[in-house]
Protein backbone atom coordinates (compact mmCIF):
# COMPACT_ATOMS: atom_id res chain seq x y z
CA UNK A 1 0.00 0.00 0.00
CA UNK A 2 2.86 2.29 0.87
CA UNK A 3 4.45 1.60 -2.47
CA UNK A 4 1.12 2.33 -4.11
CA UNK A 5 1.21 5.76 -2.55
CA UNK A 6 4.68 6.61 -3.74
CA UNK A 7 4.52 5.07 -7.18
CA UNK A 8 1.84 4.48 -9.73
CA UNK A 9 1.56 1.32 -11.80
CA UNK A 10 -0.02 1.91 -15.16
CA UNK A 11 -1.52 -0.78 -17.33
CA UNK A 12 -0.02 -4.14 -17.94
CA UNK A 13 3.33 -2.74 -18.96
CA UNK A 14 4.38 -2.22 -15.37
CA UNK A 15 5.52 1.35 -15.91
CA UNK A 16 6.43 3.11 -12.72
CA UNK A 17 5.55 6.72 -12.51
CA UNK A 18 7.43 8.13 -9.57
CA UNK A 19 5.74 11.17 -8.10
CA UNK A 20 8.97 12.28 -6.50
CA UNK A 21 10.80 12.20 -9.78
CA UNK A 22 7.93 13.93 -11.53
CA UNK A 23 7.87 16.77 -9.01
CA UNK A 24 11.65 17.02 -9.13
CA UNK A 25 11.55 17.35 -12.90
CA UNK A 26 8.89 20.03 -12.66
CA UNK A 27 11.06 21.96 -10.25
CA UNK A 28 14.10 21.57 -12.51
CA UNK A 29 12.08 22.78 -15.51
CA UNK A 30 10.86 25.81 -13.60
CA UNK A 31 14.37 26.61 -12.42
CA UNK A 32 15.73 26.33 -15.96
CA UNK A 33 13.04 28.67 -17.28
CA UNK A 34 13.77 31.17 -14.53
CA UNK A 35 17.55 31.13 -14.94
CA UNK A 36 17.87 30.71 -18.71
CA UNK A 37 16.18 33.93 -19.71
CA UNK A 38 17.66 35.35 -22.90
CA UNK A 39 17.89 38.82 -21.38
CA UNK A 40 19.97 37.72 -18.41
CA UNK A 41 21.55 34.44 -19.43
CA UNK A 42 24.60 33.55 -17.39
CA UNK A 43 27.89 32.45 -18.91
CA UNK A 44 27.61 28.77 -17.83
CA UNK A 45 24.19 28.47 -19.46
CA UNK A 46 25.42 30.18 -22.62
CA UNK A 47 28.46 27.94 -22.86
CA UNK A 48 26.33 24.84 -22.23
CA UNK A 49 23.99 25.84 -25.03
CA UNK A 50 26.91 26.56 -27.32
CA UNK A 51 28.43 23.18 -26.52
CA UNK A 52 25.16 21.46 -27.28
CA UNK A 53 24.81 23.18 -30.63
CA UNK A 54 28.39 22.16 -31.43
CA UNK A 55 27.45 18.54 -30.90
CA UNK A 56 24.14 18.72 -32.75
CA UNK A 57 25.28 20.88 -35.69
CA UNK A 58 26.94 18.05 -37.68
CA UNK A 59 23.81 15.92 -37.33
CA UNK A 60 21.58 18.77 -38.41
CA UNK A 61 23.92 19.50 -41.28
CA UNK A 62 23.49 15.92 -42.46
CA UNK A 63 19.73 16.45 -42.55
CA UNK A 64 20.08 19.83 -44.25
CA UNK A 65 22.05 18.40 -47.17
CA UNK A 66 19.23 16.29 -48.64
CA UNK A 67 16.81 19.13 -47.95
CA UNK A 68 18.99 21.44 -50.02
CA UNK A 69 19.00 18.87 -52.80
CA UNK A 70 15.20 18.61 -52.65
CA UNK A 71 14.95 22.36 -52.71
CA UNK A 72 16.90 22.55 -55.95
CA UNK A 73 14.80 19.98 -57.82
CA UNK A 74 11.75 22.20 -58.32
CA UNK A 75 13.55 25.39 -59.38
CA UNK A 76 15.79 23.40 -61.74
CA UNK A 77 12.89 22.02 -63.79
CA UNK A 78 10.91 25.23 -63.59
CA UNK A 79 13.80 27.21 -65.03
CA UNK A 80 14.44 24.99 -68.03
CA UNK A 81 11.69 26.68 -70.03
CA UNK A 82 12.86 30.16 -69.17
CA UNK A 83 16.50 29.71 -70.06
CA UNK A 84 16.42 31.36 -73.51
CA UNK A 85 14.68 34.49 -72.30
CA UNK A 86 16.90 34.62 -69.25
CA UNK A 87 20.00 34.23 -71.41
CA UNK A 88 19.01 37.24 -73.52
CA UNK A 89 18.32 39.28 -70.44
CA UNK A 90 21.64 38.30 -68.88
CA UNK A 91 23.58 39.22 -72.02
CA UNK A 92 22.02 42.65 -71.95
CA UNK A 93 22.81 43.02 -68.28
CA UNK A 94 26.36 41.91 -68.95
CA UNK A 95 26.85 44.68 -71.47
CA UNK A 96 25.60 47.21 -68.95
CA UNK A 97 27.60 45.61 -66.19
CA UNK A 98 30.86 46.16 -68.08
CA UNK A 99 30.40 49.89 -67.71
CA UNK A 100 29.69 49.52 -64.00
CA UNK A 101 32.63 47.19 -63.60
CA UNK A 102 34.94 49.79 -65.06
CA UNK A 103 33.42 52.41 -62.80
CA UNK A 104 33.76 50.11 -59.79
CA UNK A 105 37.45 49.54 -60.45
CA UNK A 106 38.02 53.28 -60.64
CA UNK A 107 36.07 53.86 -57.46
CA UNK A 108 37.95 51.09 -55.71
CA UNK A 109 41.26 52.67 -56.62
CA UNK A 110 40.02 56.04 -55.43
CA UNK A 111 38.76 54.56 -52.14
CA UNK A 112 42.10 52.86 -51.58
CA UNK A 113 43.83 56.21 -51.94
CA UNK A 114 41.37 57.82 -49.51
CA UNK A 115 41.76 55.00 -47.04
CA UNK A 116 45.52 55.33 -47.18
CA UNK A 117 45.29 59.06 -46.57
CA UNK A 118 42.77 58.74 -43.75
CA UNK A 119 44.39 55.61 -42.31
CA UNK A 120 41.05 53.79 -42.44
CA UNK A 121 40.75 50.04 -42.58
CA UNK A 122 37.58 48.41 -43.85
CA UNK A 123 36.86 44.70 -43.91
CA UNK A 124 37.45 43.23 -47.34
CA UNK A 125 34.98 40.82 -48.90
CA UNK A 126 37.46 37.99 -48.59
CA UNK A 127 37.58 38.51 -44.81
CA UNK A 128 33.97 37.38 -44.50
CA UNK A 129 33.33 33.90 -43.18
CA UNK A 130 30.98 31.76 -45.26
CA UNK A 131 28.66 29.29 -43.52
CA UNK A 132 25.72 27.03 -44.32
CA UNK A 133 22.51 27.14 -42.36
CA UNK A 134 22.06 23.80 -40.64
CA UNK A 135 18.94 24.43 -38.58
CA UNK A 136 16.08 26.82 -39.01
CA UNK A 137 13.59 26.49 -36.18
CA UNK A 138 10.63 28.82 -36.53
CA UNK A 139 9.28 28.70 -33.04
CA UNK A 140 7.20 31.20 -31.13
CA UNK A 141 10.03 32.15 -28.79
CA UNK A 142 12.97 32.78 -31.02
CA UNK A 143 13.67 33.47 -34.67
CA UNK A 144 17.17 32.21 -35.11
CA UNK A 145 19.22 30.06 -37.38
CA UNK A 146 22.04 27.71 -36.61
CA UNK A 147 25.06 27.97 -38.88
CA UNK A 148 27.73 25.33 -39.24
CA UNK A 149 30.78 27.40 -38.30
CA UNK A 150 31.83 28.84 -34.97
CA UNK A 151 34.67 30.35 -33.03
CA UNK A 152 37.18 28.01 -34.69
CA UNK A 153 36.47 29.88 -37.93
CA UNK A 154 36.83 33.24 -36.19
CA UNK A 155 33.15 33.92 -35.50
CA UNK A 156 32.33 35.90 -32.37
CA UNK A 157 29.15 37.11 -30.71
CA UNK A 158 27.74 40.27 -32.27
CA UNK A 159 29.17 39.81 -35.76
CA UNK A 160 26.69 40.79 -38.49
CA UNK A 161 25.43 38.06 -40.80
CA UNK A 162 24.55 38.82 -44.39
CA UNK A 163 23.42 36.88 -47.40
CA UNK A 164 23.57 37.74 -51.08
CA UNK A 165 20.92 40.42 -50.73
CA UNK A 166 21.35 42.03 -47.36
CA UNK A 167 21.59 41.87 -43.60
CA UNK A 168 20.15 38.72 -42.05
CA UNK A 169 20.90 39.29 -38.38
CA UNK A 170 23.76 38.96 -35.99
CA UNK A 171 25.52 36.19 -34.11
CA UNK A 172 24.39 35.87 -30.50
CA UNK A 173 25.55 32.43 -29.41
CA UNK A 174 28.86 31.00 -30.52
CA UNK A 175 30.16 27.50 -30.11
CA UNK A 176 33.41 26.12 -31.47
CA UNK A 177 31.91 24.68 -34.64
CA UNK A 178 28.49 26.33 -34.74
CA UNK A 179 26.83 29.62 -34.04
CA UNK A 180 23.28 30.85 -33.64
CA UNK A 181 22.13 33.87 -35.61
CA UNK A 182 19.41 36.13 -34.23
CA UNK A 183 17.30 37.20 -37.19
CA UNK A 184 16.15 40.78 -37.74
CA UNK A 185 12.57 39.56 -37.30
CA UNK A 186 13.13 38.19 -33.78
CA UNK A 187 11.40 39.86 -30.85
CA UNK A 188 14.74 40.72 -29.26
CA UNK A 189 16.32 42.22 -32.36
CA UNK A 190 17.06 45.96 -32.34
CA UNK A 191 19.18 47.43 -35.11
CA UNK A 192 19.87 51.15 -35.74
CA UNK A 193 19.14 51.92 -39.36
CA UNK A 194 18.70 54.90 -41.63
CA UNK A 195 17.11 55.76 -44.93
CA UNK A 196 19.80 55.79 -47.55
CA UNK A 197 18.21 58.76 -49.36
CA UNK A 198 17.72 61.12 -46.44
CA UNK A 199 19.85 59.67 -43.63
CA UNK A 200 16.71 59.69 -41.44
CA UNK A 201 17.50 57.54 -38.43
CA UNK A 202 15.32 54.83 -36.89
CA UNK A 203 15.53 51.61 -34.91
CA UNK A 204 14.52 48.43 -36.68
CA UNK A 205 12.55 46.40 -34.16
CA UNK A 206 11.75 42.74 -34.73
CA UNK A 207 8.28 41.59 -33.71
CA UNK A 208 8.23 38.06 -35.14
CA UNK A 209 6.46 39.29 -38.27
CA UNK A 210 7.97 39.09 -41.72
CA UNK A 211 8.19 42.90 -41.88
CA UNK A 212 10.05 44.34 -38.86
CA UNK A 213 8.94 47.72 -37.54
CA UNK A 214 10.72 51.07 -37.76
CA UNK A 215 10.59 52.75 -34.35
CA UNK A 216 11.85 56.11 -33.10
CA UNK A 217 11.48 57.71 -36.51
CA UNK A 218 10.43 61.08 -35.12
CA UNK A 219 7.27 63.09 -35.71
CA UNK A 220 7.90 63.96 -39.34
CA UNK A 221 10.38 61.39 -40.58
CA UNK A 222 11.95 61.95 -43.96
CA UNK A 223 11.11 58.46 -45.14
CA UNK A 224 9.24 57.56 -48.30
CA UNK A 225 7.77 54.24 -49.40
CA UNK A 226 10.43 52.30 -51.24
CA UNK A 227 13.33 54.07 -49.54
CA UNK A 228 16.37 51.87 -49.21
CA UNK A 229 17.02 51.18 -45.53
CA UNK A 230 20.59 50.46 -44.49
CA UNK A 231 22.34 49.97 -41.18
CA UNK A 232 23.41 53.30 -39.72
CA UNK A 233 26.26 51.95 -37.63
CA UNK A 234 25.20 54.24 -34.79
CA UNK A 235 25.60 51.58 -32.14
CA UNK A 236 29.11 50.72 -33.24
CA UNK A 237 28.14 47.05 -33.34
CA UNK A 238 27.17 46.87 -36.99
CA UNK A 239 29.01 48.53 -39.84
CA UNK A 240 27.34 51.43 -41.58
CA UNK A 241 25.66 50.92 -44.94
CA UNK A 242 24.69 47.25 -44.87
CA UNK A 243 21.55 46.89 -47.01
CA UNK A 244 18.57 45.94 -44.86
CA UNK A 245 15.42 46.40 -46.90
CA UNK A 246 12.80 48.69 -48.32
CA UNK A 247 10.56 51.04 -46.36
CA UNK A 248 6.88 50.15 -46.44
CA UNK A 249 4.17 52.45 -45.06
CA UNK A 250 1.53 50.85 -42.87
CA UNK A 251 -2.13 51.80 -42.66
CA UNK A 252 -1.75 53.22 -39.17
CA UNK A 253 0.91 55.69 -40.33
CA UNK A 254 3.86 53.65 -39.14
CA UNK A 255 6.73 52.20 -41.09
CA UNK A 256 7.92 48.69 -41.67
CA UNK A 257 10.72 47.18 -43.71
CA UNK A 258 10.54 44.55 -46.41
CA UNK A 259 13.81 42.72 -45.85
CA UNK A 260 16.16 42.20 -48.77
CA UNK A 261 17.47 39.02 -47.20
CA UNK A 262 14.04 37.43 -47.65
CA UNK A 263 14.43 37.51 -51.42
CA UNK A 264 16.09 34.14 -51.14
CA UNK A 265 16.01 31.43 -48.49
CA UNK A 266 18.65 32.08 -45.89
CA UNK A 267 20.75 29.14 -46.89
CA UNK A 268 24.33 30.25 -47.34
CA UNK A 269 25.41 33.28 -45.34
CA UNK A 270 28.51 35.30 -44.64
CA UNK A 271 29.56 36.35 -41.19
CA UNK A 272 31.31 39.68 -41.22
CA UNK A 273 34.07 39.89 -38.60
CA UNK A 274 33.32 43.51 -37.83
CA UNK A 275 35.21 44.88 -34.87
CA UNK A 276 32.96 46.83 -32.56
CA UNK A 277 33.73 50.54 -32.44
CA UNK A 278 34.57 51.35 -28.85
CA UNK A 279 34.45 54.71 -27.16
CA UNK A 280 37.82 56.48 -27.00
CA UNK A 281 39.72 56.11 -23.76
CA UNK A 282 40.34 59.53 -22.16
CA UNK A 283 43.92 60.63 -21.93
CA UNK A 284 45.57 60.11 -18.56
CA UNK A 285 46.83 63.73 -18.49
CA UNK A 286 43.83 66.06 -18.23
CA UNK A 287 45.69 69.32 -18.98
CA UNK A 288 46.12 69.07 -22.72
CA UNK A 289 44.72 72.36 -23.93
CA UNK A 290 45.84 72.20 -27.55
CA UNK A 291 43.12 69.98 -28.94
CA UNK A 292 40.58 70.61 -26.19
CA UNK A 293 40.49 74.42 -26.14
CA UNK A 294 40.87 75.36 -29.78
CA UNK A 295 37.51 74.03 -31.01
CA UNK A 296 35.74 75.71 -28.07
CA UNK A 297 37.35 78.98 -29.00
CA UNK A 298 36.42 78.48 -32.64
CA UNK A 299 32.87 77.67 -31.65
CA UNK A 300 32.67 80.79 -29.49
CA UNK A 301 33.79 82.86 -32.41
CA UNK A 302 31.40 81.21 -34.77
CA UNK A 303 28.48 81.92 -32.44
CA UNK A 304 29.10 85.68 -32.72
CA UNK A 305 27.43 87.17 -35.80
CA UNK A 306 29.89 88.63 -38.28
CA UNK A 307 32.89 87.11 -36.57
CA UNK A 308 35.93 86.59 -38.76
CA UNK A 309 37.03 83.00 -38.95
CA UNK A 310 40.73 83.72 -39.22
CA UNK A 311 42.39 84.65 -35.97
CA UNK A 312 39.21 84.24 -34.04
CA UNK A 313 40.46 81.44 -31.86
CA UNK A 314 43.31 83.34 -30.28
CA UNK A 315 41.21 86.46 -29.64
CA UNK A 316 38.41 84.56 -27.95
CA UNK A 317 40.82 82.56 -25.95
CA UNK A 318 42.61 85.59 -24.70
CA UNK A 319 39.31 87.01 -23.53
CA UNK A 320 38.41 83.86 -21.72
CA UNK A 321 41.27 83.43 -19.27
CA UNK A 322 45.00 83.87 -18.97
CA UNK A 323 45.55 80.14 -19.11
CA UNK A 324 43.52 79.85 -22.24
CA UNK A 325 45.41 82.79 -23.60
CA UNK A 326 48.58 80.77 -23.29
CA UNK A 327 46.85 77.97 -24.98
CA UNK A 328 45.80 80.29 -27.76
CA UNK A 329 49.36 81.34 -28.31
CA UNK A 330 50.29 77.72 -28.47
CA UNK A 331 47.40 77.18 -30.82
CA UNK A 332 48.58 79.90 -33.15
CA UNK A 333 51.97 78.30 -33.07
CA UNK A 334 50.32 75.04 -33.86
CA UNK A 335 48.57 76.61 -36.81
CA UNK A 336 51.95 77.41 -38.26
CA UNK A 337 52.65 73.69 -38.39
CA UNK A 338 49.15 72.21 -38.66
CA UNK A 339 48.66 68.99 -36.68
CA UNK A 340 45.22 68.20 -37.99
CA UNK A 341 42.62 69.07 -40.58
CA UNK A 342 40.92 71.76 -38.50
CA UNK A 343 44.04 73.80 -38.09
CA UNK A 344 44.78 73.47 -41.77
CA UNK A 345 41.32 74.75 -42.54
CA UNK A 346 41.93 77.79 -40.33
CA UNK A 347 45.15 78.56 -42.13
CA UNK A 348 43.33 78.57 -45.39
Amino acid sequence: MASRRSTRHDGEQGIRFSRTLFIALLVVSGALIAFDRPASRSAPFASFRAGFTDVSAPLLDLVAKPLRAIKNIGPYWRRQGELVAENDRLLQQLTEARYWEDLAYRQRDRIEVYEDVLDVESAAIEDRIGAWTVADPRGPFVRARLIGRGSDAGIRNGYPVINLYGLVGRVYETGRRSARVLLLTDLNSRVPVMADRSNARAILVGDNSEFPRLDYVGRAPDIQPGDRIVSSGDDGILPRGLPVGEAVATRDGGWRVRLYSDQAPVDFVWVWPFQRVTAPVPESEPDIPLTEEAPVADQAGADQPGAEPAGDGPTSSEDASPDQGDAAVDDSDTNATPPDGTATEDNR
Partner: protein
Protein backbone atom coordinates in the same frame (compact mmCIF):
# COMPACT_ATOMS: atom_id res chain seq x y z
CA UNK B 1 2.20 -18.12 -20.36
CA UNK B 2 3.77 -15.36 -22.39
CA UNK B 3 1.68 -12.42 -23.37
CA UNK B 4 1.49 -11.29 -27.00
CA UNK B 5 3.62 -8.26 -26.20
CA UNK B 6 6.51 -10.45 -25.10
CA UNK B 7 6.72 -12.41 -28.33
CA UNK B 8 9.11 -10.10 -30.09
CA UNK B 9 12.26 -8.45 -28.93
CA UNK B 10 11.73 -5.26 -26.96
CA UNK B 11 15.00 -4.00 -28.41
CA UNK B 12 13.36 -3.48 -31.78
CA UNK B 13 10.62 -1.43 -30.16
CA UNK B 14 13.15 0.55 -28.15
CA UNK B 15 15.15 1.26 -31.30
CA UNK B 16 11.97 2.35 -33.08
CA UNK B 17 11.08 4.64 -30.19
CA UNK B 18 14.50 6.29 -30.07
CA UNK B 19 14.70 6.61 -33.84
CA UNK B 20 11.25 8.13 -34.20
CA UNK B 21 11.84 10.65 -31.43
CA UNK B 22 15.23 11.61 -32.87
CA UNK B 23 13.81 12.04 -36.35
CA UNK B 24 10.96 14.12 -34.95
CA UNK B 25 13.41 16.35 -33.09
CA UNK B 26 15.66 16.82 -36.10
CA UNK B 27 12.77 17.57 -38.45
CA UNK B 28 11.46 20.05 -35.91
CA UNK B 29 14.75 21.95 -36.04
CA UNK B 30 15.58 21.36 -39.69
CA UNK B 31 16.02 24.27 -42.10
CA UNK B 32 12.51 24.00 -43.47
CA UNK B 33 12.67 27.32 -45.23
CA UNK B 34 15.11 25.74 -47.60
CA UNK B 35 12.09 24.02 -49.12
CA UNK B 36 9.92 26.51 -50.95
CA UNK B 37 6.52 27.02 -49.43
CA UNK B 38 7.09 24.73 -46.45
CA UNK B 39 7.57 26.93 -43.44
CA UNK B 40 5.28 25.57 -40.76
CA UNK B 41 6.12 22.44 -38.86
CA UNK B 42 3.67 20.39 -36.84
CA UNK B 43 4.93 19.37 -33.42
CA UNK B 44 6.23 15.99 -34.52
CA UNK B 45 7.99 15.60 -31.21
CA UNK B 46 4.79 15.76 -29.19
CA UNK B 47 3.16 13.29 -31.56
CA UNK B 48 6.01 10.84 -31.06
CA UNK B 49 5.96 11.28 -27.29
CA UNK B 50 2.19 10.95 -27.11
CA UNK B 51 2.04 7.79 -29.19
CA UNK B 52 4.93 6.06 -27.45
CA UNK B 53 3.74 7.12 -23.99
CA UNK B 54 0.43 5.41 -24.68
CA UNK B 55 1.53 2.42 -26.74
CA UNK B 56 4.71 1.57 -24.86
CA UNK B 57 4.68 3.62 -21.62
CA UNK B 58 7.81 1.90 -20.34
CA UNK B 59 9.78 3.62 -23.11
CA UNK B 60 8.48 7.04 -22.21
CA UNK B 61 8.99 7.64 -18.48
CA UNK B 62 8.89 11.25 -17.19
CA UNK B 63 12.66 11.56 -17.34
CA UNK B 64 12.61 10.68 -21.05
CA UNK B 65 9.82 13.18 -21.73
CA UNK B 66 11.79 15.82 -19.86
CA UNK B 67 14.98 15.02 -21.77
CA UNK B 68 13.20 15.19 -25.12
CA UNK B 69 11.64 18.53 -24.27
CA UNK B 70 14.96 19.90 -23.09
CA UNK B 71 16.64 18.72 -26.29
CA UNK B 72 14.00 20.48 -28.33
CA UNK B 73 14.58 23.67 -26.34
CA UNK B 74 18.29 23.51 -27.06
CA UNK B 75 17.89 22.63 -30.72
CA UNK B 76 15.38 25.36 -31.43
CA UNK B 77 17.08 28.04 -29.33
CA UNK B 78 14.10 28.43 -26.99
CA UNK B 79 14.72 29.16 -23.28
CA UNK B 80 15.64 25.90 -21.57
CA UNK B 81 12.82 24.14 -19.75
CA UNK B 82 9.90 25.56 -21.73
CA UNK B 83 9.06 22.53 -23.85
CA UNK B 84 10.39 20.18 -21.18
CA UNK B 85 7.80 21.50 -18.74
CA UNK B 86 5.05 21.63 -21.36
CA UNK B 87 5.51 18.04 -22.51
CA UNK B 88 5.99 16.71 -19.00
CA UNK B 89 2.78 18.20 -17.65
CA UNK B 90 0.58 17.62 -20.69
CA UNK B 91 1.61 14.00 -21.18
CA UNK B 92 1.23 13.19 -17.50
CA UNK B 93 -2.25 14.73 -17.44
CA UNK B 94 -3.69 13.33 -20.65
CA UNK B 95 -2.04 9.97 -21.27
CA UNK B 96 -4.29 6.94 -21.30
CA UNK B 97 -4.32 4.95 -18.10
CA UNK B 98 -5.89 1.70 -17.03
CA UNK B 99 -5.60 -1.90 -18.08
CA UNK B 100 -5.94 -1.45 -21.80
CA UNK B 101 -3.93 1.71 -22.27
CA UNK B 102 -4.63 3.44 -25.54
CA UNK B 103 -7.94 2.50 -27.19
CA UNK B 104 -7.94 0.98 -30.65
CA UNK B 105 -10.36 3.49 -32.15
CA UNK B 106 -9.15 6.69 -33.72
CA UNK B 107 -11.63 9.32 -32.39
CA UNK B 108 -10.79 9.04 -28.67
CA UNK B 109 -7.10 9.08 -29.51
CA UNK B 110 -7.51 12.21 -31.62
CA UNK B 111 -9.54 13.85 -28.90
CA UNK B 112 -6.97 13.06 -26.22
CA UNK B 113 -4.13 14.22 -28.43
CA UNK B 114 -5.96 17.49 -29.13
CA UNK B 115 -6.27 18.14 -25.42
CA UNK B 116 -2.59 17.27 -24.87
CA UNK B 117 -1.59 19.58 -27.68
CA UNK B 118 -3.60 22.50 -26.35
CA UNK B 119 -2.31 22.09 -22.83
CA UNK B 120 1.30 21.72 -24.00
CA UNK B 121 1.15 24.84 -26.13
CA UNK B 122 -0.68 26.78 -23.43
CA UNK B 123 2.05 25.95 -20.92
CA UNK B 124 4.77 26.68 -23.47
CA UNK B 125 3.21 30.05 -24.22
CA UNK B 126 3.01 31.00 -20.56
CA UNK B 127 6.48 29.72 -19.70
CA UNK B 128 8.01 31.24 -22.82
CA UNK B 129 6.43 34.61 -22.14
CA UNK B 130 7.77 34.46 -18.59
CA UNK B 131 11.27 33.65 -19.82
CA UNK B 132 11.22 36.30 -22.54
CA UNK B 133 9.75 38.87 -20.16
CA UNK B 134 7.25 39.81 -22.84
CA UNK B 135 4.34 38.13 -24.57
CA UNK B 136 5.53 35.35 -26.85
CA UNK B 137 4.27 35.27 -30.40
CA UNK B 138 0.93 33.49 -30.40
CA UNK B 139 0.55 33.07 -34.14
CA UNK B 140 3.22 30.39 -34.70
CA UNK B 141 1.84 28.46 -31.74
CA UNK B 142 -1.67 28.51 -33.20
CA UNK B 143 -0.39 27.49 -36.62
CA UNK B 144 1.61 24.68 -35.03
CA UNK B 145 -1.50 23.46 -33.23
CA UNK B 146 -3.58 23.50 -36.40
CA UNK B 147 -0.83 21.81 -38.43
CA UNK B 148 -0.41 19.15 -35.74
CA UNK B 149 -4.14 18.44 -35.57
CA UNK B 150 -4.21 18.08 -39.34
CA UNK B 151 -1.18 15.81 -39.47
CA UNK B 152 -1.72 13.66 -36.40
CA UNK B 153 -4.45 11.37 -37.82
CA UNK B 154 -1.96 9.82 -40.25
CA UNK B 155 0.63 8.56 -37.73
CA UNK B 156 -2.15 7.71 -35.27
CA UNK B 157 -3.96 5.65 -37.89
CA UNK B 158 -0.76 3.79 -38.77
CA UNK B 159 -0.04 3.06 -35.13
CA UNK B 160 -3.57 1.85 -34.42
CA UNK B 161 -3.60 -0.31 -37.52
CA UNK B 162 -0.34 -1.88 -36.46
CA UNK B 163 -1.70 -2.51 -32.98
CA UNK B 164 -4.86 -4.12 -34.31
CA UNK B 165 -2.90 -6.40 -36.61
CA UNK B 166 -0.47 -7.41 -33.86
CA UNK B 167 -2.76 -7.69 -30.90
CA UNK B 168 -1.91 -5.26 -28.15
CA UNK B 169 1.67 -4.63 -29.23
CA UNK B 170 3.29 -2.15 -31.54
CA UNK B 171 6.64 -2.25 -33.31
CA UNK B 172 8.34 -5.37 -32.09
CA UNK B 173 5.42 -6.31 -29.92
Amino acid sequence: MRKPTDRNSPWLAATGCIASVLIALIIQASPTRLVDGLTIMPTWTLMAIFLWANVRPQFMPPIAVFAIGLTQDLLTGAPMGVWALAYLVSISVFRFRGEDGMPRDLPPVLLRFGATLLLAHGIAFAAGSFALEQMADLQPLVIEIVASILMFPLPAYLVLRRRRSRGSGFIGG
